[in-house]
Amino acid sequence: MITFWFSVVVLAWVLFFVLEGFDFGVGLLGPVLGRDDHERGAAVRTIGPFWDGNEVWLVAAIGVTFAAFPAWYSALLAGLYLPMVLLLLLLAVRGVALEFRGKGDGPRYRRRADIALALSSLGIVLVWGALLAAFVRGLAIDAGGDVVGGGFARTVGPVLTPAAGLGSLAALYAALLLGATFLALRTSGPVRRRARTLAQWLGTGGAVALLLLGLGTGSVVVLIAAVLAFVAGLLARTGREALAFAATAVGVAGSVVAVFTSHGSVVLHSTIDPAYALTRDAAAATPQALELLTWAGVLILPGVLAYQVYSYWVFRRRVASERVPS
């Protein structure tokens, strides 16, 4: 039961990172690849109907983590207090910028919304990358699962390490590639062309960097990611946009799984003493709570997936970024 719920938690996080990942990427790239108000509007419209539903995967992921592993939820959030608050603030700015963009008046207003959207998306991606890297490294938790230390360094320190910086770069890369392949898949006209070119460059360039990193560290995950990035770039070049996006999504999903299972049955590693590490079993809720969750999950989640797929199907048409001559 505990293993099952661990898998569900990881699945929820995977869906969040893949789905919001392309949202973040579009938020970052839209204002760059769109040369004018109309093109930028087209880029943002590709995620307009979806971002909200995607963001609920964060609600679901954190909710399921809380429900199935309360001690894990508590240790992570309290232990990474300030970076988590920063993340929430950036998410607030981004959601509002995205939803308010088209409702206001005039290109200047939309330009400001675009800048807010791009900067907040960038911030979110960098913070997430650092948080995931900090998570893999583990936190300075004591036997009670609480992070020890003093001052701001207590909760900010874990995201200011070289590893966290690398995590931020990796996350930025993943979001850019996801965003580029998604825009190539979902638009027509100039934005599509530019997104395709960018995806090719990102795919091949990133593959080289990942290959070097993989060889240097001997990490199989990174080597697989390098192959997937290369394949994505190649597919984008040959116009197989759906497959290019799929290859990127698989890469991101695999990386998230690798992050969450990096310590085996330990869900949060302790940097003070391995004996303090939080294990799945110790973090899990009671069997009764897990049973309730199982019923709820079995009854509800298939429906959620079905109507989310339906919504993607309804809005499957490409968004035109070219100007229709009137």
Binding site: V44, R45, G48, P49, D52, G53, E55, V56, V59, A60, I62, G63, V64, F66, A67, A68, P70, A71, Y73, S74, A75, L76, L77, A78, Y81, L82, V85, L88, L91, A92, V93, R94, G95, V96, E99, F100, G102, K103, G104, G144, G145, D146, V148, G149, G151, F152, A285, T286, A289, L292, L293, A296, I300, L301, V304, Y307, Y310, S311, V314, F315
Partner: protein, 453 residues
């Protein structure tokens, strides 16, 4: 102020702020659904235009609700990790099920509805907004069940090994009698806020387009009906609370001594309050127990009783805060309902409302919003010192290791960002309300093909 005070203040700020937008989303979703059905039934174009206007107000409000609601989902772990560990079994599944069952519905179908005007068959499209409305109610019910647990813990057992709370029955948790009383009260309050916003927009724009008259009168009806329902459900909720949290109601009345045939003080002054009070005889006994001669327990007796039961310490909440928020909630809420009724009366059979009324009515949304806020401040501060009544105290719930400076930094961040969002939201609502109702009238040469995004 110590770290506990700061963390409580932060929770209060982000939660009250979130709750500016929640009641609006609940009532605007239901109103949009109602207007769209009215349009389908009557085929009157003006209903379609009003549906779209309400839809736009809904989507910008919902967005703020989403991003501030996300913060709520994290709050329990960020500032209150000891609470999250202790009540993980009860709170975790509740939040998770709310997210999976209700929040997904709302977010996905709201987008389908908003962007799907020309992509979905009419019946499915209408069903989408109805689903959104149902989803908001489900959300409210489940979240209120979690809050009701803190007021009146049910369906749990304390684990003998870990000492933590274990959930024994989800159904029982949902059907907490406090929840069954608080849910209708909360929804009635939400109807008032949404009604007041429509009334405000309608009155403000009436001169530009007579079609807004329908919106204004609809809003006034909702404000009045919501007000009446709030009073009735509030009376019932008060009786339930008297039963499960007698200290809260005693604090609301600043009633120190246990009294039979207790009066209700409309107004009181004095240091620990009623030294001088304007009282209505027997009313408190009627409100609390439904009987003019009933005995209402006083603060002093309850304090002695709790000290004997739970050990030494103060179990008395802040009396003036409880006393005044309770009265402000009722007074301001009823003023809003009265203004709704007044508008309906003065505009009956096509009459023109007097100028002084139409000049001030655009500010009416502030009233029910303030009443809701005072209601929540009362509910939560008069629960003190408990985090879950009778089981554990607020001081036991805070994240170990959290420092004042960390919370001050995060609170400053929330205040700045939330403040900016509020200003932008207000200006956007004003901008949206100012658009001509029928697009054809303003820009016949440039028809809007898809929603601008």
């Amino acid at each position: 102020m110590d770290v506990l005070d700061w963390t409580r203040l932060q929770f209060a700020v982000v939660t009250i702020y979130h709750y500016f937008f929640v009641p609006l989303s609940i009532s605007l979703a239901a109103t949009a659904a109602g207007l769209q059905i009215a349009w389908l039934r009557t085929k009157k174009e003006q209903y379609l235009h009003l549906t779209k206007l309400v839809g736009k107000l809904l989507i910008v409000t919902f967005a703020v609700g989403v991003v501030t609601g996300l913060v709520q989902e994290f709050q329990f772990g960020l500032g209150w990790s000891a609470f999250a560990r202790f009540y993980g079994d009860v709170f975790g599944p509740t939040l998770a099920i709310e997210g999976m069952l209700a929040f997904f519905l709302e977010a996905t179908f709201l987008a389908l509805w908003y962007f799907g005007w020309d992509r979905l068959p009419r019946a499915i499209h209408t069903a989408c907004i109805v689903i959104v409305a149902v989803g908001t109610l489900l959300s409210a019910f489940i979240i209120l069940a979690a809050n009701s647990f803190m007021q009146n813990p049910v369906a749990y057992a304390l684990d003998p090994v870990t000492g933590r709370a274990r959930l024994t029955s989800f159904t029982e948790l949902m059907l907490n009698k406090v929840n069954l009383a608080a849910f209708p009260h909360t929804i009635s309050g939400a109807v008032m806020v949404g009604g007041a916003l429509l009334l405000a927009v309608g009155v403000w724009r009436l001169a530009a387009d007579p079609a807004y008259g329908i919106l204004a009168r609809l809003g006034a009806w909702l404000t009045l009906a919501g007000g009446a329902a709030t009073a009735l459900t509030g009376d019932h909720l008060g009786k339930v609370i008297t039963e499960v949290q007698p200290m809260k109601m005693a604090a609301a009345e600043a009633l120190y001594e246990t009294t039979a045939g207790a009066p209700f003080a409309v107004f009181a002054t004095g240091k620990p309050l009623p030294e001088f009070a304007l009282e209505i005889p027997w009313l408190l006994s009627i409100l609390a127990k439904g009987n003019p001669n009933a005995t209402v327990q006083g603060i002093d007796d309850l304090q002695a009783q709790y000290a004997a039961e739970f050990g030494p310490g103060s179990y008395v909440p802040m009396i003036p805060v409880a006393f005044w928020t309770f009265r402000l909630m009722i007074g301001i809420g009823m003023l809003a309902a009265f203004l709704g009724a007044l508008y309906l009366w003065r505009t009956r059979k096509g009459r023109q409302a007097p100028r002084w009324l139409t000049r001030w009515l655009p500010l009416i949304p502030l009233l029910p919003t303030a009443a809701n806020t005072f209601g929540w401040i009362f509910t939560e501060t008069a629960r003190q010192p408990w985090i879950a009544f009778g089981i554990s105290k607020v001081a036991d719930g805070i994240s170990p290791g959290l420092t004042s400076s960390e919370v001050i930094v995060s609170l400053a961040g929330f205040t700045v960002i939330y403040g900016v969002i509020a200003v932008v939201w207000l200006r956007l609502v004003r901008h949206l309300a100012r658009q001509p109702l029928s697009p054809s009238a303003a820009s016949a040469e440039k028809p809007e093909l898809a929603p601008v995004y």
